[in-house]
Structure formats: C-alpha cells, structure tokens
Amino acid sequence: MLVPENLKYQKTDEWVKVEDGIAIIGITDYAQDSLSDVVFVEFAIDPDDEVSAGDSLATIESVKAAAEVVFPVSGKILEVNQILTDTPELLNSDPYTAGWLAKVQVSDESELDKLMDSAAYDAYCQDR
C-alpha cells in the first residue's frame, strides 16, 4: 500500500497536498484498493463554490460500493478533475497523481494541523 510521505491524510481516506495556499485533494491507495474497480465519479461541487472541511466533494461508485469523498480543508474550488467523469479508472491506477479530484484555494491553513501525516495514516490503516 502506497502512503506518500509528502501528503496529509484524514480518517475517511482522502489525501491533501498544499502548495502556495492551493490544496490538491484525492483518495488514498488504501481507499481505491478497498473500493476495487471504480465505475463512476459524481462531483458534488463546481468551480468557484465555497466549501467547508467535511462537505461532500464527490461520490465514487465502484463495482462493490458507493463512497462519499469529503473535503479535508475549507476554501474555494479552483478546479475539478473532469477527466474522471469519462475515465474513472484513473482513481484505481493513479490515485495520487492523475486521479486527483479537486483543487481548492485554502482559506484556513491551520486546518491542516488536524490531519494525519503519512506515518500516522499508515499506522491507522494497518490497524483496520
């Protein structure tokens, strides 16, 4: 299971990477592996929407389940990865790169402190 070191994680299996106040958000390798083959991604937001941490970002449907993705941080939506609408399988093959879900202009960087680092998330997954 891949848990890149430079990312932050939350318990609901989203990762976030913040650079220059912009957060890129996706789901973890653990999440995509548990879901198995993803068949559909439905976004719950549009660019320019203001969102709060905990708001729904998207619903991911796999052959096994339907899962909610929630925002780990608050802010304004800059971009949504629309490519996933046609190629949802990128969430399985490249969850940390091509399979990113949304980019957010972060409004409160202190929210990042509440998230787990890679070691903590790795330990959390091992226990499940």
Partner: protein, 451 residues
C-alpha cells in the same frame, strides 16, 4: 391480516423490551383515541356481504354503460382478456420487490422487457421500472432536474398545456423547496401552439422545461424549436407523453428530449376510478445515474447463463438512503406487467392500428361535431391525435347532463382548469367508439341544438 409472528415470538419480544402486553405499546396514544367505539354494523355472512357489496357497486356507472368521450389523461381502451389471465398467476400476483435475483427471474425479466419497450417507444436510451402514475413520474422529472443542477438553477418552466393535475402534483411534491420557482403555466404565457412566450422565459437559471405531447388539448406540437432553445441555455427538457400516440408520432427522444415521462394506463390498464395506474420514466444516457427508482439489467450468472438483476439503483433508498432522490421503491409491478403484456400482445403493427383507429375516429367525430350549428373547434388548425377541444354555444354543464341522460359521457369541461376556455369541452375518442356511436352523438347534439 398477515401477522408473521407466533404467540411465542411476540412474548419473547415483549420480554426483551420489558413490556407486559402489546396494548401497553400504545400507551402514548391518548386514552380516548386508543380504542374508540367504532359503531360498526353487525357482522355479515360471506353471502350477505357479497350481496351488499354488489348492491353498492351497482350504483356506479362504468364505461360499459356509457359511450365514453371522457379522456383528459385516462383513456378507455380495449383490454385483451389474456392480460388479466396472466396477471392473476400466483407467481406474478404475489411477488414483491425482486431484491433477490435468484428467486425473482420471472419478475425481473418482465420488468426488463417493460423498460426495453418503453425505451423503444419513447426513443430514449434507458427507462426505469416505473412510478405510481404519470403525475408522480412528472414530479420526479422536476426532482431529477433540480438534483442535476444541485439546486443551483432555481426555475422550472411548465407549459400551461401540461395536464393541470400533473402540475398540481408537481407543486405538491416541491412545496417544501422554497428556492424553486415553478412558473410558465400562467394565463399570460398562455397556450399558443408556437410556445413563443414560454420559450422567451428560458434562461440560464432554468433547470427544466416541461411540455406535453400530445398536449392536454390533444394537440401535436413540434417541440424542436423549444428543445433547441432550452438546450442553448443548458436547461433540460422533459416531455410528458401519451404512449398510444407514440405509435404514430416521432418519439420525443428523436426530437432531443432529455426526459420522457407518461401515464401507462392506456397500455392495458383499466380506468378503475383513477388507479392503480402506472408512471413511466425514461432518460438519455447522460442522466442514467440520476434516474430515480430502480433499473433491471441483463447479465450472466456464474455459469454463463442469461440472468436479470436489479442494477444501477444509485438513487434507491435501500442502497443509499441519504442520496436517494425519490421514495419510489416498490414499483407498480403488476401494472408494468399489464403494460408489457399489452404491448407484446399487440405487437408493433397492432399497437399502430390501435393508435390509427383512435386518430381516425377522433377526426371523424371532430368534423361531425363541427358540422352541427352551435359547435366549433377552437384549435382546428393545429394537428391533433385522439382528443380535441369543442366550443359549445350553449351552457356546458346542461349539455353534458343532457348527453348523460342519453347514455353519453360527453367529455371534460375545461372551464375550471382553463378560464380562458370557458364553455369548452375536451373530447377523447378511442378505438372503443364505433361509427354508430359517433352518429348517435351527432344525432343527440343536433336535437339539443334544435330544442
């Protein structure tokens, strides 16, 4: 009453929750309402009860006793005897929701065939397994559009020529949504067949435009310009259809409709004083995931054999309650089966023959009525299917009661729903009306005129 629990079960449950007897569970109900005196008549034997029910039922008039020109959303069609016969087979009659495909292949296959037939008829990509009736299916179209835009587009445009009862049900369904504005069906926008004043109201805040085809007055209107105008603003278009008419008309899917809904009653379901009826609901592929209710799909089992399962129930409450877009769960199983048998039994040409008979009968009736002094057709220049509007010079309720005295249900008085059509009658003519019936109608109407 079906009570699956034995006395021992009940006692065990009561012990578990620490309640002495079943009656104690109702202690929260105020005592005076708990076991009210029902003042019921003495019990009857089965024979006595049957006689009493027969006598009550005999007070009803049915379409067997009258020549019926009433339509306005429910239509008197011939129902082949085979339908009832097959519906009453125990395997279908008692079957409930087919959650378990391993024991529900017959039900699932019949629903799959229903969906396929509706998709074919409407020219759409996918149909769900049904709704309660045409009106609730229309309301689901509004809900779908609202969800599609995640509530960001707050205007829904309804054509005034959509069945007034459907518009009422839509408003009832959406009454808790204060953000939504359901407009377009006011007298100012009107019922002109060019739809221009409705088209002018389509904007970037419009989620859905709903029209009817043929419209409530039976008129066949080319909705292509309206659909193009709606799509230019990114809005969805829902078309309410009469399934019988689609045997002859270009299906709305080909005209570019995004959603097609309708009342399935004309497909082999009796009038029955208003129900149970059947709503159908079809969409283009782009809206597949937003469709309410359930879909049955074809697949193969572990042995590679053809099999049917509930599939893509993304909006069903038993799968994802909080994401469900409607409360439709138990579909109108028996009614979908009736419609499926009806369409299959008639086949494509038989179904077209029924529609053609309706069309010809209606046009013959319209010209016969129009020829009588004192009657005119306000929409005579617009093509129509099996229903048309007649303006009568004389008092309409009086005329209708006179016709009733002569064994004729004359039609639907439009005065209340459409003040602008005061004194106008909506007449429907199906294959059940014979040439002799039409001649008799004109005879009675001519006498009234001379009286």
């Amino acid at each position: 009453m079906f009570t699956p629990h034995t006395k021992a079960d009940v006692e065990a449950m009561l012990r578990t929750i620490g309640v002495g007897k079943v009656e104690d569970l109702f202690n929260v109900v105020p005592e005076k309402n708990r076991f009210p005196d029902l003042n019921l008549p003495q019990p009857l034997t089965e024979m006595e009860a049957a006689a009493e029910l027969d006598s009550i039922a005999s007070a009803n008039a049915t379409t067997r006793d009258f020549i019926c020109f009433l339509g306005a959303g429910a239509y008197n069609h011939y129902i082949p005897a085979a339908i009832d016969n097959l519906l009453q087979r125990g395997e279908f009659y008692t079957a409930y929701t087919p959650y378990q495909p391993e024991i529900s292949q017959g039900t699932l296959q019949s629903i799959f065939e229903f969906q396929s037939l509706i998709s074919l008829l409407t020219g759409m990509d996918v149909s769900n397994a049904s709704h309660y009736d045409g009106a609730t299916a229309a309301a689901e179209a509004v809900i779908l559009a609202n969800n599609h835009f995640r509530g960001k587009r707050t205007k829904v445009l309804l054509s005034r020529a959509v069945n007034p009862q459907y518009r009422e049900v839509i408003r009832g369904y959406m009454q808790a949504n204060d953000a939504l504005h359901i407009v377009g069906d006011d007298p100012e926008t009107g019922i002109e067949p060019d739809m221009k004043r409705l088209i002018d109201q389509i904007d970037l805040n419009t989620s859905l435009v709903m029209v009817q085809y043929p419209d409530f007055f039976g008129r066949i209107i080319d909705y292509k310009p309206l659909i193009e105008a709606a799509h230019a603003q990114g809005a969805l278009v829902a078309v309410v259809v009469n399934p019988t008419a689609l045997a002859l008309l270009t299906p709305p899917g080909e005209l570019g409709a995004d959603i097609v809904v309708g009342e399935g009653q004309p497909l082999g379901i009796p009038l029955s004083y208003g129900g149970p009826y059947l709503g159908f609901f079809a969409v283009k592929n782009a809206l597949l995931r937003k469709i309410s209710g359930r879909l049955v799909g074809e697949t193969v089992d572990t042995q590679g054999e053809l099999a049917y399962v509930l599939t893509l129930t993304a909006r069903e409450q038993h799968i994802r309650r909080e994401k469900a877009s409607s409360n439709i769960c138990s579909n109108q199983g028996l009614m979908t089966l009736a419609a499926t048998i009806y369409m299959t039994l008639l086949g494509k040409t038989g179904f077209q023959e029924v529609a053609n008979l309706c069309y010809q009968n209606a046009h013959y009736t319209a010209s016969a009525v129009e020829a009588i002094p004192g009657f005119s057709l306000p929409f005579r220049n617009t093509p129509y299917f099996h229903e048309f509007v007649v303006r009568a010079d004389q008092d309409l309720p009086e005329l209708l009661s006179h016709l009733e005295d002569h064994g004729i249900l004359g039609g639907y008085d439009l005065s209340d729903a459409y003040p602008e059509l005061k004194g106008c009658l909506l007449m429907a003519v199906t294959e059940m009306i014979s040439r002799g019936d039409i001649d008799y109608l004109t005879e009675v109407l001519s006498e009234v005129q001379h009286a």
